[in-house]
Symmetry: C2
Subunit: 238 residues, 2 copies
DNA sequence: TTCATTTGTTAGATTTGTCTAACAGAAATA
DNA sequence: TATTTCTGTTAGACAAATCTAACAAATGAA
């Protein structure tokens, strides 16, 4: 798989990023360091170095130290910047743990387009220029503070059969919450009640053209935005 | 490469997602539809279907229609939800074009962890519950409205040699802006002035342990947060 | 200088994912 | 019914990325 932006694969970008990090501290980069940093066997590093040298991204000859070319330095630096940007987004904005953020960022960094990258950077500039907003996110948006339930939210179980509503939030414990999110119950999505449930009867709802069954307790935790109850109108995804 | 969450590769997740989308409209899914949707040759679809059937994610026998199993349906739905979440983040929050967002989202969706996914969904709930914030992002954060330069921002060129500052924003046209961002000049990053430049002499700055040269015009567009000018303190990345 | 240890390479295998070209089966049409 | 067209599979090739096991070179110690 070739990355559109750099013309090389995600794996090779990771090798460059790793070499860059090593060189920023160690003055020389060796196969062994790279293997350890990336947690692959040294036998995997050698062919990767050959591929990178073929593409003129590193200077490499058998058994010698490894150095980045101008082109390689550029890709390495850009990859690391993406890594940092994504990792900061995940930790600072979403509140993900450092470790998880590192791993997610390093997986996604290879697929961010140049424009998404620029806009994400702009998002941080935007936040930093508005301390009141930054504060709102810092204080109001963390694991401990449960989201305040707005005054006029409607419950999915209160919907008329055949009518629709837009999801505002999921009000449930982590497990049920994740199940619902995995199933597509995310804010802004339109859900239509096909058949109401009862004590032992699951609710049937339609979401993105697919019918799904929800037990009454689970349906209870889906809260909808008030007003605007048109049927058959889907405002996301064509 | 095996995705931590679902135990299958990103490519196979895309096949499941595609089958899901087709079934939501077409009642049956055929090799041809899948090949067209994913823009691969039909000869690539057959072995993918075999791999999916081996893993019990689809029901498939030679020359017959393709159907998702319970397990396959679950992964398909979750993949599509990730796709939607990321795509909405890119379009609604960052203001990326629809097309670019679709492509970025479909590339990144396979690598989001369960917790990042849940937090991203929470971010939308959070925004929707605070219309004033939503409005701020909608109006203040788009391509057309250039970010207001805060009152007391410091320019990189005003830094004392040896002293540091945290980047607040890049104030430059798209091209220079992207170059700087690719080079690691993103909000919050500490930059240290190593050697000031002159009319024809580039500035040398240190960023993440690496020295970089910046022409005076370009250095001019790096604006720093006021106060807090300690040297050698790096608040991002260990 | 010789031997042991560390480091790096090669050989050979495996999995995944793609392609083109050739072929086979099914469906539609004449 | 016979033939054409559409659809799907197979065969064979290739590139990328990894592994283990065996080997080779370089380094360091005795
Ligand atoms: Mn990576
Ligand atoms: Mn990375
Ligand atoms: Mn995808
Ligand atoms: Mn997708």
């Amino acid at each position: 798989m070739t990355n559109a932006d750099s013309g090389i694969t995600g794996s090779l970008e990771d090798y460059l990023e790793t070499i860059y990090r090593i060189l920023a501290r160690n003055s020389v980069a060796r196969v062994k360091d790279i293997a350890e940093n990336m947690e692959v066997s040294p036998a995997s590093v050698t062919p990767a170095m050959k591929r990178l040298a073929d593409k003129q991204l590193i200077r490499y000859s058998k058994r010698s130290y490894i150095d980045l070319t101008e082109k390689g330095l550029f890709i390495a630096r850009r990859t690391m910047t993406r890594h940092k940007l994504l990792s900061r987004f995940l930790t600072e904005i979403l509140g993900i743990s450092r470790k998880q953020a590192e791993s997610d960022a390093c997986a996604m960094e290879h697929f961010l387009s140049e424009s998404s990258m620029e806009r994400l950077a702009a998002f941080f500039e935007f936040l930093a220029a508005r301390p009141e907003l930054q504060a709102l996110i810092d204080t109001g948006f963390d694991e401990s503070a449960p989201l305040k339930i707005g005054p006029e939210l409607l419950c999915l179980t209160d919907l008329e059969p055949g009518s629709s509503g837009r999801i505002a939030m999921i009000n449930a414990g982590q497990q049920v919450r994740r199940e619902l999110i995995d199933s597509g119950f995310i804010q802004g999505t339109t859900v239509t009640l096909i058949r109401p449930g009862g004590t032992d009867l699951p609710f049937i709802v339609n979401l993105d053209g697919y019918d799904q069954h929800l037990s009454p307790e689970i349906a209870e935790s889906v809260l909808l935005h008030p007003h605007r109850e048109q049927t058959g109108e889907d405002d996301n995804e064509k």
